[in-house]
């Protein structure tokens, strides 16, 4: 079997807050296969964006502890010095950010953004040639009048347009790993669909793997090969998208799916009762136990491990019984 591009083992991230130590990631283990698209879904506060940031070594200032490993193509990124991590960014790993309105520098043109990314790969490339590549990248992300748009400043572009520019930047890197952190959350629904279609059609050009972070299961179903469901800083279920969405094994995944597709008998929106686990509280049992409809006493005392199920892996001690 080929080694996965990224394998994350028991990744823990702690941050000090004025209420105590917050456990942002409580031991994440997952793999990103070569050339595959992994969807990471979860509610706000599930730690999915923190995971993405940790993979690029962008840690918030209040982080007090990181442990575990993030092995990228045989190298543990967490053991690298900052300058070594920097050599990965923009060459082998690229990222698309959540809010395209603030992710581009307001006082530089689109051309400057793109040319600097190109020159990061090929220093000393003549500006004319870099501009030609930038124009081609804009065209390939579906921007008409690419030549004209190169001279535009970010504020002259719409949100969807800016996200296309961000994707063009990522394309120019041709990264082994592209992290798309909720790239469509800040966009209108119609634009969101266009961006997802674009990412799908660019799969050929982006030969590497993609991590697509979203809270929207529908988008993940459309775009991704693999799925990883996060809750409260843990992975609760993972597997092939096709399997997990058809046969969800973890109660949280089921609840999430129910929210996505069903209304209840009276036509009201379904929601998951209760609140996300307080990150400051220590984990004594299953992290989802306080909100789980199938909870038994055993759930509250033992932390369930991710174990094989018929649709992948799930972290629930009762998934056979409740299936």
């Amino acid at each position: 079997m080929v080694h996965p591009l990224v394998s994350i083992r028991d990744l823990k991230l702690e941050a000090s807050t004025n209420r105590g130590v917050a456990h942002i990631l409580r031991g994440i283990s997952l793999e990103i296969g070569r050339g595959r698209i992994l969807g990471i879904v979860g509610e706000s506060g599930s730690g999915k964006s923190s995971l993405a940031q940790t993979m690029l070594s962008f840690l918030p200032a209040n982080v007090s502890g990181v442990s575990g490993e993030i092995v990228f193509d045989g190298v543990d990124l967490l053991k690298l010095r900052p300058s070594e991590v920097q050599s990965y960014r923009g060459r082998r790993i690229a990222k698309i950010f959540q809010d395209p309105m603030t992710a581009l520098n307001p006082v530089f043109t689109v051309a400057t953004h793109l040319v600097d990314v190109i020159r990061r790969r090929e220093p000393g490339l003549p500006r004319k040639e870099a501009l030609r590549q930038a124009e081609a990248a804009l065209t390939s992300v579906g921007i008409a009048d690419a030549r004209l748009r190169l001279e535009a400043y970010p504020h002259q572009l719409s949100g969807g347009m800016r996200q296309r520019v961000m994707i063009a930047m990522a394309l120019l890197v041709r990264p082994d790993l592209l992290i798309a952190d909720e790239p469509t959350t800040a966009l209108d629904a119609t634009v969101e669909a266009q961006i997802v279609d674009l990412l799908k059609s660019l799969r050929q050009e982006l030969s590497g793997s993609i991590v697509f972070i979203s809270h929207h299961l529908g988008l993940v179903a459309e775009l991704c090969d693999d799925l990883c469901v996060m809750y409260g800083g843990t992975v609760v279920e993972s597997g092939l998208v096709a399997d997990v969405l058809v046969r969800p094994r973890h109660p949280y995944t089921r609840a999430l799916l129910a929210c996505e597709i069903e209304d209840d008998a009276e036509g009201r929106l379904v929601s998951i009762p209760g609140e996300v686990q307080d990150p400051v509280a220590p984990m004594t049992g299953c992290i989802f136990a306080p909100r789980c409809p199938h909870v038994v006493e055993a759930c509250r005392v033992t932390v369930p491990a991710l174990r094989p199920s018929d649709s992948g892996r799930a972290a629930c001690i009762r998934f056979e019984e409740i299936a």
Partner: protein, 320 residues
């Protein structure tokens, strides 16, 4: 860009007119009869009367106001009542000295203040950052003329390294430059700290922006992120505050000119005020006002050159 320029130009003209009106009213209400002050208490009533009518002081106030505006607009700033020379020539005579002093001070402040501010922002909490915080606040709090007196004492009197007073013999570049050092330093001392604080604050703010994270995520070198992507953004608020501060800088120059007995607009105005030599006061202050407004215009335009969001039109057209 052109439309923006013209609208700024119109405001500029209005500001100058407002300043002229204010200037006229101030000289009209300031206590002390100019005739008595200039001619002395022994002057005969006839002489006083002639003087008053020569200066037009016997006319009703609206006529005097009209004359003032009409004269200025036709390029005539009036005549010095003491020497009989035109105010314009008096001003032109000393203007270069003030401009050289002001610009060398601002240049020194920018070339040292900006790098210090960037260093403090990128090495937050370092020794230099802390020292700079203390020293800059200390220098901001002490007026330029006090610094001027101390510099004089230390470098001219005790150490005897630099000449004490004056602007230097005309035509002797090195002499003039040596005499420029201390006045420039006394004005710049306050401003180095001020600019460094300003740049530090704006830099820290900008370095936290999401677009800086984008640049870092694409592996751009920290030097490029700091000096290209962050600095241009940080310059915008810095330049805005600097533009307003230039008025204060001209004010500082006035006092420093007096301390070092340098010729300049400051000394000209100071002398004219104590003599109640109103045409000179009005003319010279007006030149200062125009200078200040022009500097602000330039600042505003460079501001819009830096920040494309201020420009009304440009490449790329409207948002799509």
């Amino acid at each position: 860009m052109l439309r923006y320029f013209f609208s700024r130009l119109v405001t500029t003209v209005l500001i100058v007119f407002g300043a002229m009106l204010l200037l006229f009213l101030l000289t009209a209400v300031v206590p002390g009869d100019p005739a008595v002050t200039l001619l002395g208490p022994q002057a005969s009533p006839e002489l006083v009367k002639r003087f008053v009518s020569e200066m037009g002081l016997d006319q009703p106030i609206h006529v005097r106001l009209w004359r003032f505006f009409a004269n200025v607009l036709s390029g005539n700033l009036g005549v010095d009542v003491v020497s009989g020379r035109s105010v314009w020539s008096l001003v032109l005579n000393v203007l270069p000295d003030t401009l050289i002093l002001t610009f060398s001070a601002i240049l020194l402040a920018v070339v040292t203040g900006v790098p210090l501010g960037i260093y403090a922002a990128t090495h937050r909490g370092s020794l230099l950052d802390n020292v700079l915080a203390f020293v800059s606040v200390a220098f901001i709090a002490v007026p330029s003329f006090v610094i001027a007196i101390f510099l004089l004492l230390i470098f001219s009197i005790w150490l005897d390294w630099l000449p004490v007073l004056g602007a230097g013999r005309s035509g002797d570049f090195w002499d003039a430059a040596r005499r420029l050092i201390l006045p420039t330093l006394s004005i710049a001392a306050t401003w180095i700290g001020f600019i460094a604080r300003l740049v530090r604050t704006s830099m820290l703010e900008v370095l936290n922006e999401p677009y800086i994270r984008t640049s870092r995520a694409y592996g751009l070198s920290e030097r490029m992120v700091t000096y290209k992507y962050a600095l241009k953004n940080a310059c915008i608020p810095t330049i805005a505050v600097l533009g307003l501060g230039l008025g204060r800088l001209l004010g500082n120059a006035v006092f420093v000119e007096i301390v070092f007995a340098r010729p300049g607009l400051g000394r000209l105005i100071y002398g004219a005020i104590s003599e109640r030599n109103f045409p000179v006061v009005q003319g010279a202050v007006l030149v200062v006002v125009v200078l200040f407004v022009l500097i602000n215009l330039v600042v505003d335009l460079s501001y819009s050159a830096l920040d494309p969001r201020i420009r009304r039109d440009g490449a790329g057209g409207s948002p799509v």
